[in-house]
């Protein structure tokens, strides 16, 4: 009786019951608790961003004329800003903008960067040399200066900011992915595939790309943190999302002059930015440690 019970229990626990990905996630959580916590924070952020209109207690752009710079409490859990808008609602809506800009910018950046990295890594030769020179030239500018210049050149507006940040990310990504491609390229199974006459497209898609996905995801995650800070910085300088968009960086900038008697208006947006960026950085770090510690470069 006992034995069959045990068998029944063991059968229930058998790994055939749980899908592979769930098991991996739970294993990740056990190995890297900090990363797991970061992951949860990010999920909350995404949740807030998606359901922003429902979650925000007030309309983020609604002006409460007589209640400017009210301290946190009651109707306005985080107070109101200089114009009379609810800070909490603006922070919740700001999550949407920050996340959206971050995702698109990083998407563009890692997408193109990975493409360039894989292509130059695989083909090598003259194209590689020329394109790498081009990337070197892009990297000759400090990131913020490049982003500033692009925004200045393209004009201010969300799309332009996304493109600007994306372009800033491309060279760094291409360099890392190129390295990864080079190391994959020298593997024997690639040689075998080539000997079997597989087309280049097939090799790249079926063999190189899946083995390069891990660095791409790590870079993308950490890049999201950087993108959010860059977007906040641009908004702070007045070159990011145009008003009245509730951008976290913009909120800090426009309310700075009142901060000595209304510290909450600059405090909370900063906390929001820090939490989001920390979440992405920690998650990216944890992923990198688990997948490929070799990526631990100069960070």
């Amino acid at each position: 009786m006992q034995r069959s019970n045990a068998t029944a229990v063991l059968a229930g626990l058998s790994s055939d019951r749980q899908p592979n990905s769930l098991r991996n996630i739970l294993r990740f959580a056990r190995q890297k608790p900090l990363g797991a916590v970061a992951g949860i924070v990010i999920l909350c952020l995404i949740f807030v961003a998606i359901f922003a209109p429902v979650l925000a207690p007030h309309d983020p752009n609604e002006v409460f004329g007589g209640q400017r710079l009210t301290p946190p409490g009651g109707e306005f859990p985080m107070g109101t800003d200089a114009v009379g808008r609810d800070v909490l609602s603006r922070i919740i809506s700001g999550a949407r903008i920050s996340l959206w800009v971050g995702i698109v910018a990083v998407g563009i950046g890692t997408g193109f960067g990975a493409l360039i990295g894989i292509v130059t890594g695989y083909y090598g030769g003259k194209t590689d040399a020329i394109i790498q020179r081009l990337m070197d030239m892009l990297m000759a500018f400090p990131a913020l200066i490049l982003a500033l210049t692009m925004v200045a050149a393209l004009g201010s507006g969300l799309t332009q900011v996304m493109i600007a940040i994306g372009i800033v990310i491309v060279p760094g990504v291409s360099r890392i992915i190129r390295g990864a491609t080079l190391s994959v390229k020298s593997s024997q199974y690639i040689e075998a595939a080539q000997a079997m006459g597989a087309s280049t497209l097939r090799i790249v898609l079926l063999h190189i790309f899946p083995n390069v996905t891990a660095p791409i995801i790590v870079i993308a995650t950490i890049g999201l943190g950087g993108a959010i800070i860059t977007e906040a910085s641009l908004s702070f300088l007045g070159l990011g999302a145009p008003p009245p968009n509730p951008s976290w960086g913009g909120m800090i900038a426009s309310n700075r002059q009142f901060m000595t008697f209304a510290p909450w208006v600059v405090f909370y947006p900063g906390i929001a930015i820090s939490l989001a960026v920390m979440g992405f950085n920690l998650l990216g770090d944890a992923l990198r440690d688990v997948w490929d510690p070799r990526l631990r470069g100069s960070r």
């Binding site: 500033l148 692009m150 300088l237 510290p263 600059v266 960026v277 950085n281």
Partner: protein
């Protein structure tokens, strides 16, 4: 090797800025009142905005090589003059920030490596995550807020050179240096810890322990010197970045540095100044990195004695 990159950079800068909507003349019209269309055109011709693109580029590069970087369309001063005037400020900020950053990062990084997995190590890792994640402009703003509210103190609003009034000068720089230094120290801390850990596993360190040297001697005299080599690379990177690029800190603390100059020339649509700035900043960045690369080869004895 340097030259083609810089040439490409100059071309990139030039092209990028030709995409700017509106030109200097339109902005100036807004500032100084109305200019008749003829006067506006005359201004354009004077600034050379009418010539074909390639000619403008060629003239500009030729001027650069001869030391004439153009004239600011806004202030009517030579571009190079404006930049050199601001350079000492950025240089001082960079120097002080790196001082703060290093005196913070290296001791803590070393301790974290030597006492790995103890509470100090975790504290260091948390600090470095904070340093990397907290937005610099927010940290600076919070510092200003704290000092203003607790001690009723704000840094002086006007910049005075060190020679004129050292005490006031330091007061202007102390907050931004700290804010920058703390962010910068994050990556240096991590790198120091990582490389020191690696170095400590080497055989020659084991020999040093076996010889009976004190912990201090082993770490400082033997392990640290080699561990710091990659750190120098990061430092160089940061110096190059800070010299031209601490736009935000200079803006917040109203320091007339290179970063602020770039920002202002963007606001004012000052083509010539902006071009010169960005080229200058990029050149500094590339040159500093080059120096670091070369010194890396020199610092590593294995390469030096080959």
């Amino acid at each position: 090797m340097l030259f083609p990159v810089l040439l490409g950079v100059s071309f990139m800068v030039f092209v990028l800025l030709r995409l700017l909507p509106g030109d200097v003349v339109t902005i100036m019209l807004g500032e100084t009142g109305n200019l008749s269309p003829e006067q506006a055109d005359a201004l354009r011709t004077e600034l050379g905005l009418n010539k074909p693109f390639v000619v403008q580029y060629a003239e500009w590069v030729w001027g650069i090589l001869r030391g004439d970087w153009g004239v600011s369309a806004f202030s009517r001063q030579p571009v190079l003059y404006e930049m050199l005037r601001r350079l000492p400020v950025s240089a001082e900020l960079t120097l002080l920030s790196m001082l703060v950053s290093l005196s913070f990062a290296i001791p803590i990084g070393v301790i974290a490596a030597v006492r790995q997995d103890t509470p100090i190590d975790y504290v260091m890792r948390i600090m470095s995550v904070f340093g990397l994640s907290l937005p610099g402009f927010w940290v600076a703003t919070m510092l200003l807020l704290f000092l203003a509210m607790q001690f009723q103190w704000v840094p002086p609003l006007r910049y005075v050179p060190f020679i004129d009034n050292p005490w006031m000068n330091i007061q202007s720089f102390v907050l931004p240096s700290f804010a920058i230094g703390i962010s910068a120290s994050a990556s240096i801390m991590r790198m120091t810890r990582a490389t020191l850990l690696e170095v400590m596993r080497q055989d020659y360190v084991r020999t040093a322990w076996a010889k009976g040297l004190t912990e201090r001697a082993v770490i400082i005299r033997h392990a640290l010197k080699n561990a710091l080599i990659p750190v120098v690379t990061i430092m160089g990177n940061q110096v190059g970045f800070l010299l031209g690029g601490s736009v935000i800190m200079e803006q917040i603390f109203t320091l007339p540095g290179l970063g602020r100059l770039t920002l202002e020339s963007i606001y004012q649509r000052d083509y010539p100044q902006l071009q010169g700035n960005i080229l200058f900043v990029a050149t500094v960045f590339v040159t500093v990195n080059l120096i670091v690369d070369i010194s890396y080869a020199w610092l590593d004895p294995r390469i030096r004695y080959r």
